[in-house]
């Protein structure tokens, strides 16, 4: 396959970036998108040029480290998929593919396609836990949880923290990310004692980090690799009101 990559290059957070085009001729359809970028980087090295910096780790759609904008969509042309799961067979031979980093004020660019998502860690730090020290747990089957409740918690807990929801949202809102974590923990009996404080702390941190508000466009749920539903945001809002009144 012959592909022209039009890639955002930016040396550092304070540099003015820009697109550069690279033509690659010997790609195959069964290469993953990131393997195609690996291949481009090998070509660049041999031409004595600096490689394109991009993120990845597990390459099986679970670690959440990869993620770029491909032809104007987070994680590329398919719904509910990570960048590393995208394969070149999804593109036409001869196509031009535009590749950009996540763009959101709360995710500053570090270099090329790499952004800083530590704002997510700080949201987690502020309440996304159950305060139980190692060694204090009761017998596991002493807490009965219905399958329905457990399955709903699992649906929300599946979030991989990639940031596609923020990147695709016109408001750069982190509402889907934050709500998924709140609903995972607040939906379980173990999370109940800290439920109200958790909602208040995590949403406060979300605002402090500069993420925008949710206006329910639904774009996040389309791009979410785990298919986490926007219903989570409505549920978080309900929990927020409850916490304000009873918390």
């Amino acid at each position: 396959m012959k592909i022209t990559f039009k890639i955002w290059r930016q040396e550092g957070p304070n540099d003015k970036g820009g697109f550069q085009s690279y033509e690659v001729n010997d790609l195959t359809e069964d290469m993953s998108f990131l393997e195609a970028l690996d291949h481009l980087n090998e070509i660049l090295v041999l031409k004595n040029k600096k490689v394109v910096a991009f993120e990845y780790d597990c390459r099986e759609g679970i670690c959440g480290q990869c993620g770029v904008f491909i032809n104007g969509r987070a994680h590329g042309p398919h719904d509910n998929m990570t960048t590393c799961q995208l394969h070149m067979r999804s593109f036409e031979d001869g196509a031009t593919i535009t590749v950009e980093p996540w763009r959101a004020r709360s995710f500053p660019i570090i270099k090329d396609l790499i952004v800083n998502r530590s704002a997510f860690d700080r949201i987690i730090e502020n309440g996304a836990f159950i305060s139980a020290k190692t060694g204090t747990a009761p017998e596991a089957n002493a807490i009965l949880i219905s399958k329905t409740v457990s399955d709903r918690a699992m649906d929300a807990a599946a979030c991989i923290g990639c940031g596609a929801c923020v990147a695709t949202c016109k408001n750069s809102s982190a509402a889907l990310f934050t709500s998924a974590k709140i609903n995972h923990l607040n939906g379980l009996p173990q999370g109940a004692p800290e439920a109200h404080q958790r909602v208040l702390d995590m949403t406060a941190q979300m605002e402090k980090e500069g993420f925008g508000h949710c206006s329910f466009t639904g774009a996040c749920e389309v791009e979410c690799p785990e298919g986490i539903s926007i219903v989570n945001i409505a549920e978080m809002n309900a929990r927020f009101i409850k916490a304000k009144i009873f918390g």
């Binding site: 195959t28 004595n48 780790d57 670690c63 480290q65 020290k133 009761p138």
Partner: protein, 636 residues
């Protein structure tokens, strides 16, 4: 040096308790004055960092990823074992201990393995309390399923994302301690060397992966929790960033490397499809609960799978191992697949795969039940291959996976360097020559949450009396200069080939001669070939960019340089072990029907290698079996 595993006295079931009774304690006010470095933030690292912080120590935790939540524990799919006996099917700590010891082909310590089984049940309690959404029955109790090498159901799971859910629990607990200012988290930070002062591990040199600056960190003890090294094969189920550099640097500073050649080849990964491939995606072993593995009876059969009638299919695991069938342990299932593929029965475009078929399970339980159990795995399979596994069998193939080998540790998880601990996959402790499925999440967690926090005090209780060195100590100067020279040397080669080129070369040699099946001639040839690759790497590698910047190409190159050296040691270890055991299969030692032959009178020991300037001296820790008698490991 005599290797003393420091196994406590007493009956097997009393050893851990006896150890804890005798170990030295530190009062809470003094714990605050002690600091510990934890390298790695996966299940073992995050578990240890969070728990040590809860106990009051001052913790610095490092990871190379952008967040602790990315650590590769996240990718474990199928589950975690625990001897809860919730299924009332005859399970017990003893049975789990025996299964694990036998699964490892009697090449691990009884006391360590017993402790692993003993601590498994409280671990499930812990994770449940942390909010892990384990699968449940309608009545609200926890569900179990089976894994390979076991005849009871003791595996707990959260859909096909068990590792992710456990890691997120550990990450949450860790970041709670970050908020409490008991843990300082250093992301995008890579350990480049260990600093040893007067024989004790006292600090590390770290490279900031964004700026490329080298930094020094000092502490009273150092814990390595850096995971496995199977990326030495290049194509593996591991994350691309997984590397063996931290343990290799520690090895060069005096930590013995145990059983490096014990690496597990997982039977159910997606097959390689091209030279450019960077990774082999794993399909969970849990699929073998309901999927049946087969190949066509006819060689080079070109028909599509669904056109091959039942009587022309060879369900070779069920045929060879009737009592365990498709749930034979990984090493055995992988070798059996290799045997069929080599005999010309492989399927797929490159004839390098076997079928994993759900037709019978779907007929029996219905599509919905199978989707409930493995839905995300079927979705993942479709995303990668474009094939719907509900209607056509999956194609799977063996792939490099887990490292049973790692830094030698004693019962306290301390390496041969005082004050240096290794926990989780990066140590050699509980799995012997082969790890059973769903024991990896278990061992990583137990090491980090329960064992290390109860053994490190025994060392730190003395360290509190001595003054912590300063980061301007001459050993820090030397270590930092060493790292700087090393990185500069790689950049200055300015050759004609990429780091990936050399990694592919190394991977091919390792896969051909030091993977599922090994022999003397092949291993000797492999050592020479890797020596060649090393020479070529240092004379012809090309890395662009600079050291003082974010440089992913440089990271690849310096990790690879360590893999090359480790590859040589793996081959040497495989060469000296003239027997077949677990995942280590020497062709010279097999029965007529291709089963492994152990040589207990000569090889009932753990090999532990001393670096010795690259000459690698072998030391042996003899394994004493006091409570069980090693038997021929049969799954027939």
């Amino acid at each position: 040096m005599v290797l003393d595993a420091k196994i406590p006295e007493g009956k097997l079931e009393d050893k851990w308790r006896n150890y804890q009774i005798q170990s030295k304690l530190i009062n809470p006010a003094n714990k605050k004055k002690l600091s510990v470095i934890v390298v790695g933030s996966g299940l073992s690292g995050a578990g240890a960092a969070a728990t040590l912080a809860e106990l009051g120590y001052d913790i610095h935790c490092f990871c190379y990823q952008d967040s602790a939540r990315r650590a590769h524990s996240v990718a474990a799919q199928g589950g975690i074992n625990a001897a809860k006996n919730y299924q009332h099917d005859g399970d017990s700590i003893w049975r789990m201990f025996y299964d694990t010891l036998k699964g490892g082909d009697f090449r691990s310590r009884e006391a360590n393995t017993y402790r692993l089984a003993e601590l498994s049940a409280p671990l499930i309690d812990h994770y449940t309390q942390q909010g892990v959404p384990f699968a449940r029955e309608y009545g609200g109790t926890l569900v179990n399923r089976s894994f390979g090498g076991v005849q009871v159901q003791r595996t707990f799971y959260a859909r096909g994302q068990t590792g992710q859910q456990l890691l997120l629990a550990a990450y949450s607990q860790l970041y709670k301690m970050v908020r409490s200012k008991k843990v300082t988290m250093h992301t995008r930070s890579e350990m480049m060397d260990l600093v040893v002062i007067d024989g004790k591990a006292k600090g590390i040199i770290v490279r900031d992966l964004i700026t490329g600056e080298l930094q020094r960190y000092v502490a009273d003890a150092v814990v390595l929790a850096t995971g496995g090294y199977s990326r030495v094969f290049r194509l593996s189920t591991l994350a691309i960033g997984c590397n063996g550099s931290a343990i290799w640097k520690a090895h060069k500073k005096g930590a013995y490397f145990a059983a490096p050649s014990f690496t597990q080849i997982h039977p159910t990964a997606l097959p390689q499809s091209s030279e450019a491939q960077s990774k082999l995606t794993l399909m969970s072993e849990s699929l073998r609960n309901d999927g049946r593995i087969w190949v066509p009876k006819k060689k080079d059969d070109t028909r599509v799978a669904n056109d091959i009638p039942e009587d022309e299919r060879d369900y070779y695991l069920e045929r060879r191992y009737p009592s365990f069938g498709n749930l034979a342990p990984r090493d055995i299932a992988s070798r059996a697949a290799k045997e069929r593929i080599d005999a010309g029965h492989g399927v797929g475009r490159l004839k390098n795969a076997v079928y994993l078929d759900f037709k019978h399970a779907i007929e029996r339980f219905g599509k919905q039940t199978i989707a409930d159990r493995y839905g995300n795995l079927f979705t993942m399979y479709k995303k990668i291959t474009g094939v719907d596994a509900y209607t056509k069998p999956m194609m799977i193939s063996p792939a490099a996976h887990f490292s049973m080998g790692g830094l030698w540790v004693d019962y306290e998880l301390m390496t041969t360097v005082s004050g240096l601990y290794a926990i989780g996959e990066c140590n050699f402790s509980d799995h012997g020559a082969n790890r059973l499925g769903a024991n990896s999440l278990l061992q990583a967690s137990v090491d980090g949450y329960f064992i290390l926090p109860n053994t490190i005090n025994n060392y730190l209780a003395q360290e509190i009396k001595s003054e912590r060195p300063d980061i301007h100590h001459v050993e820090f100067d030397k270590a930092e200069q060493g790292v700087k020279d090393y990185v500069d040397r790689i950049l200055s080669v300015d050759g004609t080939k990429t780091a990936d080129h050399f990694h592919r070369e190394l991977g091919k040699v390792m896969w051909n001669d030091c993977a599922m099946s090994r022999n003397k001639t092949g291993l000797e040839k492999a050592i020479n070939q890797i020596e060649d690759i090393r020479r070529q790497f240092w004379s012809d590698v090309k890395v662009t960019g600079e050291s003082k910047e974010l440089n992913t190409e440089l990271e690849k190159a310096y990790r690879l340089a360590d893999f090359i050296e480790l590859g040589i040691l793996m081959c040497k270890d495989a060469l000296q072990r003239e027997e077949s055991c677990g995942a280590h299969f020497r062709e010279e030692y097999q029965t007529e029907d291709g089963e492994a032959v152990r040589v207990d009178d000569q090889f009932t020991f753990v090999s532990a290698w001393d670096y010795d300037e690259g000459n690698f001296a072998l030391h042996k820790e003899s394994l004493e079996f006091e409570f069980v008698q090693p038997t021929v490991r049969s799954y027939k």
